[in-house]
Amino acid sequence: MAEIITLREAVQRFVNDGDTVALEGFTHLIPTAASHELIRQGKKDLTLVRMTPDLVYDLLIGAGCAKKLIFSWGGNPGVGSLHRLRDAVEKGWPQPLEIEEHSHADLANAYVAGASGLPFAVLRAYAGSDLPKVNPVIKSVTCPFTGEVLAAVPSVRPDVTVIHAQRADRKGNVLIQGILGVQKEAALAAKRAIVTVEEIVDDLNAPMNACVLPTWALAAVCLVPGGAHPSYAHGYSERDNRFYQDWDPIARSRESFTAWIDEFIRGTADFSEYKAKLAAQEAK
C-alpha cells in the first residue's frame, strides 16, 4: 500500500545517495517538484534515467546530484540546448557526468522489459547507426526461428521512479490520463515508486480501461498541485512554454544558474513556497 505522505518525507525515506533514479513524464506530467526536492535534500551520485532529460535533469545535473545520465534525446524542446547537461559533459562542471546514450525506441522498450521483470529487451534497432559503437550496452541477439539479428538492450530497473499524475484516491490508487509516455512502465520497473498528484479525491472515477496504478504497487503518493510545472497536467494546467524559453538564459551560465537554484529551490522550503516565489517574481 502506498503511504500518503509529503514529498519531503518520500524523498527522505525512499531515495538514497547513489541510487538509480528515473523521473519520467513525456513532455506531459514531468515530475519537476521531485527534482527540486532532491536538490533541497542534497542527494548525491545519482544515476539518472530519462528519455528526455529536459529541464528537470538540467536542474539536477547543474546542482551536482548526478554522476551518470542514461537518456535518448537531450535538448530543451523547441528552445535549444540543455546548458547544464552540456557543461557537465564537456567541462565536467560541477562534476564529471558519465553519459549512456540510447534511442527513444530502445529506452521505451527497456522500460517495458523492466516492468516485465525481464533482464533485457529485444527490438529492431540501430542497424547502420553509430550509436552501438559508443554505447557498449547495446548488444544483439539472434532469433532462434528466423536467424534475424536484433538489438538487445538491458532493461531499465531503477531503484526509484518518480512520476506525476492527475489524481489519487485516499487509498493511494493513481489515475493517469492523456499523454501517458512511459510512466506506468517506469513505475512498475522500479523497486520503489513515488507519485506526486494534483489532487487526492474520494473516488477516482476512472474509465474501465484507464491507466490506473494500484496503491499496492507504489511506495508513496504525495499531494503536490502544479508539481509538473513548467510541464503540465492535462485537465489541471497548461504547459508553460514561456518558462522553457526563460530557462535558456538562466541555465546558460554557471553563475546565473547557481543564483537561481539558491534563490528558488534551496531558498524555498517546498514546492508550494517555490510556486509562490516564482509567481511573485513574474508579477514584477
Partner: protein, 259 residues
C-alpha cells in the same frame, strides 16, 4: 503571391504526403509540413506523435511533442512504448518525417555530435526516435534547410541510417523500410538515384540556380538529367500555411518551433 524559401520548403514537403497516409511526425518542420498537408490536399492523413497520440488533428502547431491538443484531438492516445512497438516496429507507418542537423549524400543523418563523440565540438540533442523511424517506416522524408555545413560529405556520426554506404547497403543491413525517398530543402528536392542510392537534385525550387545548390552542398552534388522546377506554392497552400502559423502565434505567443 510572394513567398519565402522556408514556405516553399514546407509546401514542397507537405505535397509529398498522400491523403490517408500514416505519418510519424516530429516537432518543428515535419509537424508543420504534415499539418499543412492535412489542412490542404490530404485531410485524411494520419498523424502519429511519439508521445502517444494517434490521429491527432491539432488546430495550431504543437510547441512540444506532448501538447495537450494532440491528445484531445487524437483518435486514441497510447503509451510511448506502444507507439514504438506496435505502430512503428509493427510496420504500420507509411511515412517517417525527419529533420536533421546534418545529412550526407546517402541520406544518413547526424543528430548526435559534430566532432569526436567523446570530445565533441558541438553536442547535439541525440537520437530521439529517429534511428528506428529511419529503419522501420515504409519510407522516410527528410526536411532541412540547405547549407554547406548541414549537407556534408562525411558525417562525424551516423545517428540514423539512410542508404548507408549506398547501393544495396540498406538491404544488406536487413532494414524493413525503403529508407529516405526525398530530401526537401529550401532550395530544391533531392531523390536517390536508382542503383547507387546517392541523392541527386531532381527539382529546383522556382528561381533557384544550380550554382546556389552546389554552393550550399558539402559534397559534389549531381543533378538529374530530367531536372524539374518545383511548382510554386499556390495561394491555397500559402493561405493555409500562414493561417496555421497565425493561429499558432495567437495561441502560444510564439511560432511552432523550427526544431
Amino acid at each position: 503571391m510572394t513567398y519565402s524559401t522556408n514556405e516553399m520548403m514546407t509546401v514542397a514537403a507537405a505535397r509529398r504526403l498522400g491523403n490517408g497516409s500514416v505519418c510519424f511526425v516530429g516537432i518543428g518542420l515535419p509537424s508543420k509540413a504534415a499539418n499543412l498537408a492535412r489542412l490542404t490536399h490530404a485531410p485524411e492523413v494520419v498523424l502519429i506523435y511519439e508521445s502517444g497520440p494517434i490521429g491527432a488533428k491539432p488546430s495550431v502547431l504543437p510547441l512540444s511533442i506532448g501538447d495537450g491538443e494532440l491528445a484531445e484531438t487524437a483518435d486514441t492516445v497510447v503509451p510511448t512504448g506502444e507507439i514504438f512497438r506496435y505502430w512503428l516496429q509493427g510496420g504500420r507507418i507509411d511515412v517517417g518525417f525527419l529533420g536533421a542537423a546534418q545529412v550526407d549524400k546517402y541520406g544518413n543523418i547526424n543528430t548526435t555530435v559534430i566532432g569526436d563523440y567523446h570530445k565533441p565540438k558541438v553536442r547535439l540533442p541525440g537520437a530521439g526516435g529517429a534511428p528506428e523511424i529511419a529503419g522501420s517506416a515504409k519510407k522516410v522524408l527528410i526536411i532541412l534547410k540547405q547549407s554547406h555545413r548541414t549537407f556534408v560529405d562525411k558525417l562525424a556520426f551516423i545517428t540514423s541510417v539512410g542508404h548507408g554506404e549506398g547501393g544495396d547497403h540498406r538491404k544488406r543491413l536487413g532494414l524493413p523500410g525503403a529508407g529516405p525517398v526525398a530530401i526537401i530543402t529550401d532550395l530544391c528536392i533531392m531523390e536517390p538515384e536508382a542503383g547507387t542510392h546517392e541523392f541527386v537534385v531532381t527539382a529546383l525550387h522556382p528561381g533557384v540556380t544550380r550554382e546556389q545548390v552546389i554552393e550550399n552542398t558539402g559534397w559534389q552534388i549531381r543533378f538529374a538529367d530530367q531536372l524539374a522546377v518545383t511548382e510554386a506554392p499556390t495561394e491555397t497552400e500559402l493561405v493555409a500555411l500562414r493561417d496555421l502559423e497565425a493561429r499558432t502565434a495567437a495561441a502560444h505567443g510564439q511560432l511552432g518551433g523550427e526544431e
